[in-house]
């Protein structure tokens, strides 16, 4: 059954700016989250460096046994990570268009947001949760924790 588990946003220096689960998941400690985010950031850099072909981007998709991790790198170096059920259709597309658009609108246009600082924008949070929950509902995935 397809479904979207969580969304993380990593800043230009590898810091975790935003993370949110959309279904009930086994909890990850906050410090571990910070470490995972920055190690993902590092892995993306190394994978581009080790590429056997020229002009490689960072990692776009990691396929693990129990999940897919879609990753999208903006031109300015922010990284979006979307954890989803394997074979979830359109997840990459969702990240690259709709989620990124919400980020541009409700985070970058918010005068109280500072670049590479933790995202506190309520409107962004509300809109992302509404969007991804609606997507999950379409696939019949259960309701979120709160």
């Amino acid at each position: 059954m397809p479904g979207i588990y969580s969304l993380w946003i990593v800043g230009r220096n590898g810091g975790l700016l935003y993370s949110r689960d959309f279904v009930q998941l086994p909890p990850i400690e906050f410090n571990d989250k910070l470490r995972l985010a920055s190690s993902w950031f590092g892995m993306c850099g190394i994978s581009a460096q080790l590429s056997p072909m020229p002009d490689s981007s960072g990692i776009q998709l990691l396929q693990a046994d129990t999940f897919d991790l879609h990753s999208f790198h903006t031109l300015t170096g922010t990284t979006f990570m979307l954890l989803a059920e394997p074979q979830t259709p359109d997840a990459a597309e969702l990240l690259r268009t709709t989620v990124y658009e919400l980020y541009c609108d409700y985070v970058l246009k918010n005068p109280f947001h500072e670049m590479d600082q933790v995202i506190k924008s309520e409107l962004f949070d509300q809109n992302v949760v509404a969007l991804l929950q609606a997507t999950n509902r379409r696939w019949g995935v259960g309701l979120p924790p709160q």
């Binding site: 609108d105 409700y106 970058l108 246009k109 918010n110 005068p111 109280f112 506190k120 924008s121 309520e122 409107l123 962004f124 509300q126």
Partner: protein, 193 residues
């Protein structure tokens, strides 16, 4: 001297009445965001920030009254309070936001207070006010525009912007509260006309 030397039209050769001119919402949002940040770097508390935004809006309002009175009213401006309020509620709002404001009403508690309320002002569309900033409403800028227009027309008032939660709606509405100075004098003047 304002004529361009390449033969294209200079700024003074352009007609004073342009057609409908719209700007991209994104462009405005970025500009407004920078404005708020600029003001924020120059103040030490929330009410000062609100006042600063209000001051910027004041200049805009004063100039807008001028241009709208010329364009829409054939060089006449309103002299009665109610007409002026309607001018703000419809003409000014339509120029700024492309539509009329939702409501215009007189306060129940004080007769010298009027309120214009609206949801979804695009000034605040992308702005999330952090919790530690409490009651701040970035529509203070719009309040400033209204104050400028009213002041220019001879109705000095104290204008403030507030968030008011609406039942069953996720987003609060914005209420622009206008408290007129010398309300009695204004009323008398209205009667004499």
């Amino acid at each position: 001297m304002f004529q361009s030397k390449y033969g294209s039209t200079g700024i003074v050769d352009k007609p004073f009445r342009p057609g409908k001119q719209e700007v991209a919402l994104s462009a405005f949002a970025y500009l407004f965001s920078e404005l708020v940040q600029y003001c924020q770097s120059r103040v030490s508390n929330i009410s000062e920030l609100e006042r600063k935004l209000d001051e910027v809006g004041y200049g805009v309002g004063l100039r807008l009254l001028e241009v709208l009175a010329y364009r829409e009213r054939g060089q006449r401006r309103e002299t009665r309070l109610l007409d002026m309020l309607k001018f703000v509620h419809s003409t000014l709002w339509r120029y700024l936001f492309g539509r009329q404001a939702r409501d215009l009403e007189q306060s129940n508690t004080a007769e010298d207070e009027y309120m214009i309320s609206d949801t979804d002002l695009f000034v605040t569309k992308f702005v999330s006010v952090p919790r530690e900033m409490g009651h701040l409403n970035p529509a203070a800028f719009v309040a400033g525009i209204v104050r400028g227009a009213l002041d220019g027309a001879g109705f000095p008032a104290r204008v403030t912007a507030h968030y008011v939660p609406v039942q069953g709606q996720p987003r609060p509405k914005t209420v622009i509260l206008m408290k007129f100075q010398n309300y009695q004098a204004i009323m008398q003047r209205d009667k004499q006309q």
